[in-house]
């Protein structure tokens, strides 16, 4: 692949950065939950990135969903709830 040839030209430093990339990719892989990617099978960087994007999107959706539920709960509650929420801070 031509990209490999180019990397070989800048030999010393590019070897280090490739390792760096691999470390970062595996660090990212470790942050993903077990169910998404099989950890023993070291997946390609592309797969890890794809799973990461899906995971971030699902986390955004969860935040939206939880915001809606909280909004409903605050609406339904009486004014005492404000005091209760404040007491949660103590």
């Amino acid at each position: 692949m031509s990209s490999r040839r180019n990397r070989a030209r800048q030999s010393g430093s590019s070897r280090i950065t490739d390792e760096q990339i691999n470390d970062l990719v595996s660090k990212l892989q470790s942050v993903l939950p077990e169910a998404r990617i099989r950890r023993n099978d070291r997946a390609s960087a592309a797969k890890v990135l794809q799973e990461t994007c899906n995971y971030i999107r699902s986390l955004h959706r969860e935040v939206d969903d939880l915001s809606e539920r909280l909004s409903k709960l605050l609406e339904e509650s009486s004014s005492d709830q404000a005091a209760i929420i404040r007491s949660l801070l103590m």
């Binding site: 760096q20 970062l24 990212l28 942050v31 995971y55 971030i56 935040v63 915001s67 605050l74 929420i85």
Partner: protein
């Protein structure tokens, strides 16, 4: 809660900010629409997330900058120009994935791949904490 090791932990800072914001929203949105309240809660979630990291990561600074701009406060945008390292390239097939990631993680548009991966891991960890905080609040309030 074990406070022996650190004075105030990150999840506690996040909880403090978020609960304070919720209490304020509760008081000021009695006559607002559901959508409006929902939007404010969502904004409060991302803001408390960003505040809890203390501005160490680019995504938190980007979130807070966005919030300040929307609030009408014009702070002078300090763009930190880091010395441009030779851009680290991922494998050929990954560039699309990296671009999608840059759209998802706030403030990551100008980053090279190494920084991007770092920011993403940090962002995901904070998002998970925020989600678990919100889940516990929902459980507590709905069981009252």
């Amino acid at each position: 809660m074990d406070l022996e090791h650190s004075s105030i932990s990150k999840p506690m800072i996040m909880a403090f900010h978020f609960l304070g914001a919720l209490s304020h929203i509760q008081k000021t949105t009695t006559h607002s629409t559901f959508v409006c309240r929902c939007h404010r809660i969502r904004c409060a979630a991302y803001t408390s997330m960003a505040l809890s990291t203390g501005g160490h990561s680019a995504w938190s600074r980007a979130l807070l900058r966005g919030k300040l701009r929307r609030g009408g406060l014009r702070k002078r945008a300090v763009i930190l120009q880091r010395p441009r390292k030779r851009a680290v390239r991922l494998e050929e097939g990954c560039q699309d994935g990296a671009d999608v990631l840059r759209r998802l993680v706030p403030g990551s548009a100008g980053m090279d791949s190494a920084e991007l991966l770092d920011e993403t891991a940090d962002y995901i960890r904070c998002l998970e904490e925020q989600v678990s905080l919100m889940r516990s609040i929902v459980n507590v309030v709905s069981s009252l």
